[in-house]
């Protein structure tokens, strides 16, 4: 089966689950030739050079990545053509006959959103999901410090960043993996997600809220520490309609030392 044919199967499966294909989005081939025969599929949070090497070594030549391959949202490569890092990555893709396809917009359109489900599973929160709001988790009451420590231990998260008083009581969590975490408001104690701009936004709000005597908090896990896991859900989903092809989740992992 070619990479093109695999993507056609994915589109058909999405349609059968009520997710119509929208052209013009992020989900396109990013590198390699779509007509390449697929020997195996690797899913990952981000198609870093290291992920491509591990996929090639395992013989999984179609890499399905949630985030970009070439360092910008739309994988625009115009200004990268002479860059040695870009060229080395493209050369590796060609030599190993890899194909990279992005699965972002339509992955988030599935219900439940596999990226949120994967993050909740990794955090051990699946059973705390609020029936009323798919992003809200009601945890047994704890403190921000204890919650952050438990998360860091569980995920092995080295780059976790927290704003808020460690002693504050928390229970109601809004989970927003990836970028652009949900805005903090009076509706929850803490927002947990990937990464978000430090200018204004939740950081400023949390600092203001503490000063106003209405403490709120934010825990930034890192983008990969929050969205990588959901690509395990995507691998499981692909196996349900692509029998016979080896499919593996290859985590991008945390980029920070």
């Amino acid at each position: 089966m070619t990479a093109e044919a695999v993507v056609a199967r994915i589109k058909a499966q999405l349609a059968s689950q009520g997710v119509a294909w929208r052209e013009g989005g992020r989900d396109t081939f990013k590198a390699g030739r779509p007509e390449t025969d697929v020997r195996g599929i690797a899913t990952s949070g981000m198609s870093t050079f290291d992920v491509l090497r591990r996929a090639a070594k395992a013989g999984h030549n179609l890499v399905i990545s949630h985030e970009p391959t070439f360092y910008n949202d739309r994988d625009v490569t115009t200004d990268l053509e002479t860059d040695p890092v870009y060229r080395a990555k493209q050369q590796f893709v060609a030599e190993q006959q890899l194909v990279v396809w992005r699965f972002h917009d339509h992955a988030h359109a599935l219900r439940p959103d596999p990226l949120i489900a994967g993050s909740a599973r990794a955090l051990g929160w699946t059973s705390y999901a609020s029936p009323a709001d798919p992003r809200v988790y009601v945890l047994p009451a704890t403190t921000l410090g204890e919650l952050a420590s438990a998360i860091a231990r569980r995920l092995g998260d080295r780059g976790i960043r927290v704003v808020g008083n460690p002693a504050m009581k928390v229970s109601r969590v809004v989970l927003g993996p990836g970028y652009g975490m949900p805005p903090l408001s009076a509706a929850a104690d803490v927002v947990v997600g990937g990464e978000i701009g430090e200018s204004g936004g939740n950081t400023e709000y949390a600092l203001d809220a503490a000063a106003a005597g209405q403490p709120k908090a934010m825990i930034m896990l890192g983008h990969m520490m929050s969205e990588d896991h959901g690509m395990q859900e995507i691998a499981d989903w692909l196996r349900t309609f692509l029998a016979g092809l080896p499919i593996a989740f290859i985590p991008a992992g945390e980029p920070f030392a």
């Binding site: 050079f49 360092y71 990268l80 890092v85 080395a88 976790i160 400023e204 709000y205 203001d208 980029p255």
Partner: protein
């Protein structure tokens, strides 16, 4: 009408200040001292615009964000981000004009949006109103000066003021070190806590450092990092500059990244701005309010 011989109380001199200054000063005999006080926020900003040395942009985030521009300035505080704690500190010190470099109401356009009835937003607005503070943002234009003020001040804070390379104004040639040792130097000099994140191996040899305070975008990183061994970054995104630096590990020229956080990276430039303001505004005190790294991490 006021009795003859009495000066009209400037409308923005608060009642408390009126009491503090004392009625006598408001008589004609006190006029010279009163004239010294009468620098409005609008006048201060006009002076800044005239002296900043870069053309004022039509589309910019810079401008008044809160308060009445006609307010008489009693003191100026520069701050990376006009958080409620920073505003309280400014008000307590009598600095009623706050020059900020990041938003005041949580977004670039300062539109509270869904937070319009939020208690935290309302508390902040009420504090600004009660203390008759004026908040003015000075991000685009301070950041447009050449050489870049944020980068130069960051270099100064790191002890590298004289080490800028001639071929790239953002690259510094420092005494040979390792990524691990440089990380500890940066941590100690900038007082960075949870914001600190590093890409690369600790033993990596470092001679040339690219400074990228504030937003660390991908085009700037790709363009300049070929001339350096490591990037000291403000705020990189994981799918942009972070992925690029990560991928260099698979080439024959691996690079490192030390991310210190946007707010921490801009702090020296905001202190430098206070020093610059003191050279053009002598009527009132000007000081920088320190920014503490807002993030913490599990020890």
């Amino acid at each position: 009408m006021l009795p003859s011989g009495m000066t009209k109380i400037p409308r923005d001199l608060s009642r408390r200040e009126f009491v503090a200054v004392g009625g006598a000063v408001l008589l004609s005999a006190g006029a010279p001292r009163l004239a010294r006080l009468e620098l409005t926020a609008q006048q201060a900003i006009e002076r800044i615009r005239a002296r900043v040395g870069v053309p004022w942009r039509d589309t910019t985030v810079d401008g008044f964000k809160a308060g009445d521009p006609a307010t008489v300035v009693t003191g100026i505080a520069t701050v990376v981000m006009a958080t409620l704690p920073a505003l309280r500190q400014a008000a307590a010190a009598g600095r009623n004009l706050i020059v900020t470099f990041e938003p005041t109401f949580y977004s670039g356009n300062e539109d509270p949006g869904s937070r319009a009835s939020d208690p935290v937003y309302l508390a902040k607005k009420a504090f600004i109103d009660e203390h008759r503070l004026v908040v003015w943002r000075f991000s685009d234009h301070w950041g447009a000066r050449v050489p870049n003020e944020f980068a130069s001040a960051l270099a100064g804070a790191l002890g590298w003021a004289d080490l800028r390379t001639a071929d790239n104004l953002l690259v510094y040639a420092i005494p040979s070190t390792t990524l691990g040792a440089l990380t500890e130097h940066v941590r100690a000099r900038l007082g960075v806590k949870g914001s600190l994140r590093v890409v690369g191996t600790p033993g990596m040899q470092i001679r040339r450092v690219l400074l990228s305070p504030g937003t660390t975008d991908m085009p700037g990183t790709v363009k300049n990092l070929s001339q350096a061994d490591v990037i000291v970054s403000g705020e990189p995104r994981e799918w942009e500059a972070v992925e690029y630096v990560l991928d260099t590990a698979s080439t024959n020229q691996p690079k490192g990244m030390i991310a210190v956080g946007r707010l921490v990276s801009e702090e020296p430039g905001v202190r430098a701005c206070a020093a610059w303001l003191r050279t053009l505004i002598t009527e009132v005190p000007v000081e920088a309010i320190a920014t503490v790294d807002p993030y913490w991490r599990i020890a």
